[in-house]
Amino acid sequence: SQQGEEDPQALSIQEGENATMNCSYKTSINNLQWYRQNSGRGLVHLILIRSNEREKHSGRLRVTLDTSKKSSSLLITASRAADTASYFCATDVPAAGNKLTFGGGTRVLVKP
């Protein structure tokens, strides 16, 4: 089973609305990362949040981390059609040797 699992699996919103997706994981982590993948392309790193951080912002992105619940959320504010993509969380686990474990992703469709 996967270390990180995203919820929902798919999300459809109108341009200008906010999009929220969640990631749950099973074991202790060093950090948790979010990536975006446009159709047919490689993944692009969005943001990294360390286990001792609770919230982090980058432009229109806001990430929270709750280590007690082993969960994270990614909020995209004021979404644009260009935000249409799949979003993946990835966890870095202690003693895993610099390896990430990815969740199954959330597909986000932003309708103009």
Binding site: G40, L43, L100
Partner: protein, 114 residues
């Protein structure tokens, strides 16, 4: 794509044939990774390298081997391709040390095994 190229970008082959995918980086990053991406499974790590000639297995390494003779090149070989290895393969690189940092991904190779 952060100085990472993958070749070929598309390949169709037949069951039982050997296949080698190449990942080339110009960033001089220490760590290199091979993932496969399949519907419903996200990305799964096949093998990774933490230096020249230093490699280790990932989550789904059966049927795959790797080699890294130079910092810039990481090769993934399917010794005898099977239909279950039809997938999109991504290479990634990272410069991070003890604690995992961001990874930079190549454009992917779409492999079809008939």
């Amino acid at each position: 794509d952060a100085g990472i190229t993958q070749s070929p970008r598309h390949k169709v082959t037949e069951t039982g044939t050997p296949v080698t995918l190449r990942c080339h980086q110009t960033e001089n990053h220490r760590y290199m990774y091979w993932y496969r991406q399949d519907p419903g499974h996200g990305l799964r790590l096949i093998h990774y390298s933490y230096g020249v000639k230093d490699t280790d297995k990932g989550e789904v390494s059966d049927g795959y081997s790797v080699s890294r003779s130079k910092t810039e090149d990481f090769l993934l070989t399917l010794e005898s391709a099977t239909s279950s290895q039809t997938s999109v393969y991504f290479c990634a690189i990272s410069e991070s040390g003890r604690e995992g940092g961001e990874q930079f991904f190549g454009p992917g190779t779409r492999l079809t095994v008939l």
